[in-house]
């Protein structure tokens, strides 16, 4: 078995004494590539933050490999896009323990530009973060996380609000990083576009409903229990494709209206 990076045992987390997630048992090992799926408010962000250590559990515990280097890519909705920082400033920000002065050193600059280049953000280093497209904004924060050379990359909804092409680019990038040995855990709403391609999925709805490969986890029973809505699953080329259970019915009603 591969080395354990993070282990959550019987973990519960709360905001103002209301439990957001409860009784979570989850082990992240080196080489993992995990997707967390679940409806809005199911606790995906909370779980990722507990793994990062920015919130502490009220019950149970999280143990981490000592000195584990993690990179975090926040949900874009939570970023203050008006804050006066350029792309380069965001990327080098994480080196606050070594870099003290406002000046970006030559080495830092070279390293940062390499990361930006790799993410297709070459030439944008002096742009204000708001003057970018949604996909570019997303990748700036991936760049910041990578600049830190993480062993575990934590991404909160990395493909929300981006088009199909950008989503493919993000997927390819993550696959490349995974090949290079970076372990990844991410949350997503995109069952077919992202989750179904990952080796391991965790279905979350305050509690873990299921944990396994897409074929094991993406079943009508598990999905209904997770999302509280009827869903169908087709198998297409050996891969599960989730279809909205309400589709046919709604279409019939809509067409009757006109």
């Amino acid at each position: 078995m591969d080395e354990v990076l993070v282990e959550c045992a019987h973990m519960s987390c709360a905001y103002n004494s209301t439990l957001a997630i409860k009784n979570i048992d989850l082990t992240v090992r080196k080489g993992d590539f995990i997707g967390i799926v679940g409806p809005s408010g199911s606790g995906k962000t909370t779980l990722l933050k507990a793994i990062l250590g920015s919130i502490s559990p009220v019950e149970g515990h999280v143990t981490k490999k000592p000195q584990l280097r993690m990179g975090y890519v926040p949900q874009v909705e939570t970023v203050d896009w008006n804050f006066p920082v350029t792309v380069l400033e965001v990327v080098v920000m994480t080196r606050s323990s070594t870099g003290h002065l406002p000046r970006v050193t030559k080495d830092e600059r070279t390293d940062a530009l390499l990361v930006l280049e790799r993410l297709g953000l070459g030439g944008l280093e002096n742009r204000h973060i708001r003057e970018l497209s949604g996909g570019q904004q997303q990748r700036v924060f991936v760049a910041r996380a990578l600049f830190h050379q993480p062993e575990l990359l934590v991404l909160d909804e990395p493909t929300s609000g981006v088009d199909v092409r950008t989503r493919h680019e993000v997927l390819h990038l993550l696959a490349d990083l995974h090949d290079e040995g970076v372990s990844i855990i991410l949350s997503t709403h995109d069952l077919n576009g992202l989750a179904a391609h990952l080796p391991r999925l965790v279905c979350l709805n305050s509690e873990i409903i299921a944990d396994g490969s897409p074929v094991e986890v993406l079943t009508p029973e598990v999905l209904e229990q997770t999302f509280g809505a009827p869903m169908g699953v087709l198998i297409h080329g050996g891969m599960p494709v989730v279809v909205d259970g309400v589709g046919a019915d709604i279409a019939k009603r809509m067409s009757r209206l006109d």
């Binding site: 920015s54 926040p74 008006n82 400033e89 080098v92 920000m93």
Partner: protein, 284 residues
Amino acid sequence: MSFVFAGLLTPFRYEFFNNGIIVATIAGALCGLLGVFVVLRGMSYIGHGLSHAVFGGAAASAVMNVNYFVGAGVWGVASGVIIGRIARRRLIGADAAIGVVTTASFALGLALLNRYGQAKKSIEAVLFGSVLGVQTIDIVAVSAVAILSVIVVVALYRAFLFATFDPEVAQVSGVRVAWIEALLMGLLSLTILVTMRVIGTLLISALLVIPASVARMLTNSFARMLWISPVIGAVSAFTGMYLSYFLDTSASATIILTGTLMFIVVYAATGLRGRTRISGLHHI
């Protein structure tokens, strides 16, 4: 011609004016520097609250015959750190709690001055500031706090930037966010303490907000804001103080009005760009 020139220089013939304009200019720069953090973190209510809390300490130390800097200093730094703590936890009603505590401190100070203070005049001086009472110790104090603030902000630049932009990720990346925040609150309290005698309780929070907002309209870079804002603060303080001599108006009010005028000019000149840049600032 030389007559007009000599006329323009008259105020500088008075020592009290020279002391006052030195303190005011340094105070403007200092408030401009720390105001960057106040504005970007949307905590202008903290500047307001702190100045009211320090007023209580100032009044108490006057009544008890304790040195102003010692009495108000201890009181101010203590309330600064406590306010920072309350605000950080983001509890429901944190704003209200801060408001109640600092207003109570203010009211207590007022009552103490009414009951035991000398005259109405001293109350007015604390509320609106006064150039007349400025002493060498004020120049020393404001310079010391300014130098300290510059050293701290430059030496811990990245940590300050990270903790301001993204406290949660900063925390997990090894920045001691709580410590940085306490440091910032401490510096803010000290700033209010050393500038209050000139600017007055009621107008300090404006001096913390206006230069930084003007700087924000002028640039998209945090690093540049950190020097533009102090320059604007210093220029408005110097100009306002100078004009107040001729207009025979309150120095602090004239300083704030000068700053406001700069705000309006920059707002108009930068147009839509400036407006979108400050649209994201909370509570200015």
